[in-house]
Amino acid sequence: MLGELLNPYHLQIVSFVLINIILGISIYITLSSGQLSLGNAGFMGIGAYTSALLTINFEVPIILGIILGALVAGIFGILIGIPALRLSGVYLAIATLGFGEVMRVIFVNWESVTQGAIGLSGVPHLGREVFKTLTAIGFDPEILGLKNNQFIYLIVVSILLLINIFIVWFFVRQNKSRVGRAFAAIKMDEKAAESMGIDITYYKVLSFTQGALLAGFAGALYAHVMAYISPADFAYHRAIEILIFSVFGGSEVIWGAIFGAAFMTIMPEALRFISEYRYMIYGAILILMMAFRPQGIIDVSLLQWFKKIIKFRKGTDHGTGIKKRH
């Protein structure tokens, strides 16, 4: 039963959706404090290379590799964030884009470690490693009626799903906290926020670092899901793609980034039946979006509208008092 329902193709796409959601959130976090950073592809690369090199050369467990990858990216985020945040707006965007390119050139030229443009192959695969340990202790996916590759991708998707739920929960909470309100205040008006006693440097570096940490985390996961990385994966195309996730979905709320990442990943696959023309539609959707809904698909008023509908329905339930009579 389960075996028939799970197609590795769909599981694969869902795993890319989940990784892209983390990337979308990483840029949403920096945008939420009013900063436009295009360096997330670079941070993603740092996370990916750190984790891949550690697991290949030093046989570090994957989980530790991924965490270290994220931390190293986060540390770079602090180092880059402090000087870069003297800039704002497009100047920050250009500086961070430059940082991303510098990272790519380092990956290309540091051949003794990164193998240059050839890329790193043989990165341990997240699903296959877990599968190996599980079979070693005597677990057989046949019990669930699954083929090996179905089971491997099921593992990957479930791990990513758990991580995603945790990250979304964390950032939804943070948005309601003092930190989130400080971010929002800085985004609205930096001077006003400062005059109200918000330490803007601290909060700006914090949001920049959180973005870098998340991007590095996503990069490390990417390396272990693809099992192969090369510097070309972390070029500026990637930075723009990540930005599109958030801008398309709506950069005001976290759900926008999530929706954007999911939509932009699934659409090219869903449009496969029109083969060569699918990227035309991709482009057309982007143009129409920016023309008619520049704030992105999901914004605060749309969320409130949803909320109202839900409340309205519940309200009528209570109002008629049917439940009491029964």
């Binding site: 694969q12 309601k176 693809m226």
Partner: protein, 387 residues
């Protein structure tokens, strides 16, 4: 707020269920096809998946490759020894998409083999997965080192740089009695970097004096600095691992500077575009290639004629390699006698001296190419045999 979170999770889970439900239908339909296919007697009929680079900056490669496949497909089905159906899918040159679509092809039971993907970077991702799932996969344009070594289900019929470069270099060294060489390469591309590794190893093996190694990047337009340095060192030959767009510009600037020594290029340098871009400056470029369209072989001329009639342009090496690849698959299916993945793999591994438009073709024990490349030189504005 909590309600929103709850609802969103509900949405996400409903959405995932939908996806999972959709694939349930998929598998049942493919099951149906499978049993039908088994029932029919007569020639082996099989479905082969193709992953190609059809949209994006490298779409020209994918177009040539799929043209080659389609031409071969018509001929093979006309002959009727085997019946092949192709399922052509686009990867847009991205590893993620190549992997997703490979999963799509692999999970449908009636696909017995995969041809492609186009780029070596994509093959590095797709290869291990195909090998694990036990489906034969053959690259028609993946020339980087280490591709067939991924696993025993991974093959290629594209001439690797490790065969092409030594052939060109040996002939050139013999003819010009060269002692010293300068190497330049693009260091930010898998293809050119891999070509450089081979060039360096071959030059060292042959005891040539490497006077300098210079690098450039994709899209660079000014090469005067590195060419000046090379001019001062005065090597007998210049080895350039470059794609044709950069390579042609390099040759143009070198000739203008007065560097007259021959250039030796890898597979990526081998394109009629070089002559178009660099004009007379391209004279003296030596490349080794499996494909020579002016060869006086009736088979080659027939292919060129048919291709030109159908698509309105001359086939390049990618089209020729794809054309031959489908013939190799057809031969494998014929010998296997059934549309089965494992039987096909074993039959493919045993293919020897198959005549194609590229010449006689065999696989070695790793699934790599065994064949003699042709060495060409640009002379009087066109590629000619180099002797």
């Amino acid at each position: 707020m909590r309600k929103i979170i709850k609802n969103s999770y509900l949405l996400i889970s409903v959405f995932m269920l939908l996806i999972l439900a959709a694939c349930g239908n998929d598998t049942t339909t493919t099951d149906g096809n499978d049993s039908e296919a088994e029932k029919t007697d007569g020639p082996v009929s099989a479905k082969i998946g193709v992953i190609s680079y059809l949209t994006g900056p490298g779409a020209a490669y994918g177009e040539a490759i799929t043209n080659g496949f389609n031409l071969a497909l018509e001929e093979i089905n006309e002959k009727g020894e085997v019946k092949i159906e192709l399922d052509i899918q686009d990867s847009a040159g991205k590893q993620e998409q190549a992997l997703s679509v490979a999963q799509k092809l692999m999970s449908s039971d009636d696909i017995v083999a995969i041809l492609g993907p186009t780029l070596s970077t994509e093959m590095n991702v797709v290869g291990p997965e195909a090998d694990m799932n036990g489906i034969p996969i053959m690259g028609t344009s993946t020339t980087a080192a280490g591709i067939p070594q991924i696993g025993e289900y991974v093959f290629r019929n594209s001439l690797p740089e490790s065969l092409a470069i030594p052939a060109a270099l040996e002939k050139a060294v013999e003819k010009f009695d060269a002692k010293s060489v300068a190497i330049l390469y693009g260091n930010d591309d898998l293809f050119t970097k891999s070509g450089f590794d081979t060039m360096k190893a071959v030059a060292e093996d042959m005891g040539l004096d490497i006077v300098t190694i210079e690098t450039f990047q994709k899209g660079q337009s000014d090469y005067n600095a590195l060419l000046t340095k090379i001019k001062d060192l005065n090597p007998d030959l210049i080895l350039a691992s470059a794609l044709y767009n950069e390579g042609a510009v390099i040759m143009d600037q070198a000739r203008k500077m007065g560097i007259e020594v021959p250039f030796i290029g890898g597979n990526g340098f081998n394109s009629p575009q070089v002559i178009e871009i660099a004009g007379p400056a391209s004279e003296g470029l030596i490349v080794a290639t499996p494909w020579f369209g002016d060869k006086e072989d009736p088979k080659v001329q027939e292919f060129v004629g048919k291709y030109e009639a159908k698509y309105g342009k001359k086939p390049d090496q990618f089209a020729a390699q794809a054309y031959d690849a489908l013939y190799i698959m057809a031969e494998g299916l014929k010998n296997a006698g059934e549309a089965d993945r494992d039987a096909l793999r074993d039959a493919l591994a045993e293919i020897k001296d198959l005549d194609g438009v590229l010449g006689k073709f065999s696989f070695d024990e790793e699934g790599d190419v065994v064949m003699d490349p042709t060495v060409l030189v640009i002379k009087d504005g066109k590629f000619q045999l180099f002797e």
